[in-house]
């Protein structure tokens, strides 16, 4: 295996380990969040974002790494994001957690994986159609909040922390 593949493998092992320890690989946790009864996955995701954004802002500020925004293509994000949400509610897994769920013995996740591979093949078949329709509506390109709002990334970091910490306190108070 190449260096690139080894690096991916070890990073994935650590990622899967933490996902499993946080108990976020479960169908019940994901659907529980969508039913607004169990906020475990939201606590997990927001904590990762809060910590990650500090390091990424720092490394980017030092010129060590480059950012990689995905395009703000309105049709793609609205239709695609909506379709993902609808499928996610039924499937009960997202792409990364499906594989992890299989690792912790929840073998029914295999059906979700099969469905997603079929979905990927279907998307590849329909790509010319989507390109001519949904994807061609309006594309604002690879934009970030920093340039769009014209603020320092540290203002956004502070803002996200200021929103999330009280939210966490509220989750704990409500026992969510």
């Amino acid at each position: 295996m190449s260096t690139e593949q080894w690096l991916g493998l070890w990073t994935g092992i650590a990622f899967g380990f933490f996902l499993q320890k946080g108990r976020v690989l479960r169908f019940d946790k994901q659907v529980g969040a969508m039913l607004l009864k169990d906020m475990t996955i939201l606590k997990f995701m927001l904590s990762a974002i809060l910590v990650g954004m500090v390091g990424i802002t720092l490394l980017h500020g030092m010129g060590v790494i480059t950012l990689s925004h995905k395009p703000m293509n309105v049709g793609a994000i609205v239709v695609g994001g909506g379709l993902f949400g609808a499928g996610w509610a039924i499937m009960g897994f997202c792409p990364g957690t499906s594989v992890g769920a299989l690792g912790e013995g929840r073998w029914h996740a295999l059906f979700a994986i099969v469905g997603m591979i079929l979905g990927a093949a279907l998307y590849a078949e329909l790509y010319p159609f989507f390109k001519a329709t949904v994807l061609s509506w309006r594309d604002y390109g690879k934009i970030g909040l920093v340039e769009t709002l014209g603020v320092s990334p540290w203002v956004l970091v502070a803002g996200f922390w200021a929103i999330c910490l009280p939210l966490f306190a509220w989750f704990e108070k409500k026992g969510l």
């Binding site: 080894w6 606590k43 974002i49 792409p95 912790e104 469905g115 997603m116 934009i143």
Partner: protein, 179 residues
């Protein structure tokens, strides 16, 4: 706040914060070792997996497909990352004894019964819809939800709101207060 969950897991705040650290180390390590900053993500791997499988039966079809050509069907960094998630979850669950064979998730069983066939149909159909959506939006809860949010991408903030917004609406319709 508790650091351990009832079933011996870790607090989601702690486990999440560690993933945040992992994401930072990963962007740095990929930049240094691969010469290009790579962000955590998962859904492109499903395109590559579909391409690899389809190539075994109909290689000319994959070669002629524009989407497969731009996504580059190969076992790359992210493909190994997704494979690693399986191994990491296996190691963690076996060592803390939370590994469990499960054919139908409890919440699903409460609403739709114990039939694994019903669950399989739901998972396959849901999976198809979700992956078409993820590829259209160019990301999933990892690529948009974690990596995109960490760099304040406009598209990721919008995508994450839609993932959850539509997810909440559909879950409410599907489960109708029965769980």
């Amino acid at each position: 706040m508790q650091w351990k969950t009832e079933d011996n897991g870790w607090s989601p705040y702690l486990a999440g914060a560690l993933v945040g650290l992992l994401a930072i180390i990963s962007v740095w390590a990929t930049t240094v070792l691969m010469g290009k900053t790579n962000y955590l993500g998962a859904s492109t791997t499903f395109v590559r997996a579909a391409g690899l499988l389809e190539r075994a039966v109909a290689p000319e079809r994959v070669a002629a497909n524009e989407y497969f050509t731009t996504s580059k069907v190969k076992v790359d960094w992210q493909f190994m990352l997704v494979s690693g998630i399986f191994l990491g979850a296996l190691i963690s669950s076996v060592t803390d004894r939370s590994f469990k064979w499960e054919s139908v998730p409890p919440v699903w069983a409460k609403r739709f019964g114990n039939s694994p066939i019903k669950r399989a149909v739901g998972a396959v159909l849901g999976g198809i819809v979700a992956m078409v959506g993820a590829r259209m939006a160019d990301g999933c809860p990892s690529g948009h939800g974690l990596s995109g949010m960490m760099q304040f991408s406009v598209s990721s903030l919008a995508a994450l709101c839609l993932f959850f917004g539509v997810g909440i609406a559909v879950a409410a319709m599907v489960y109708r207060g029965r769980v």
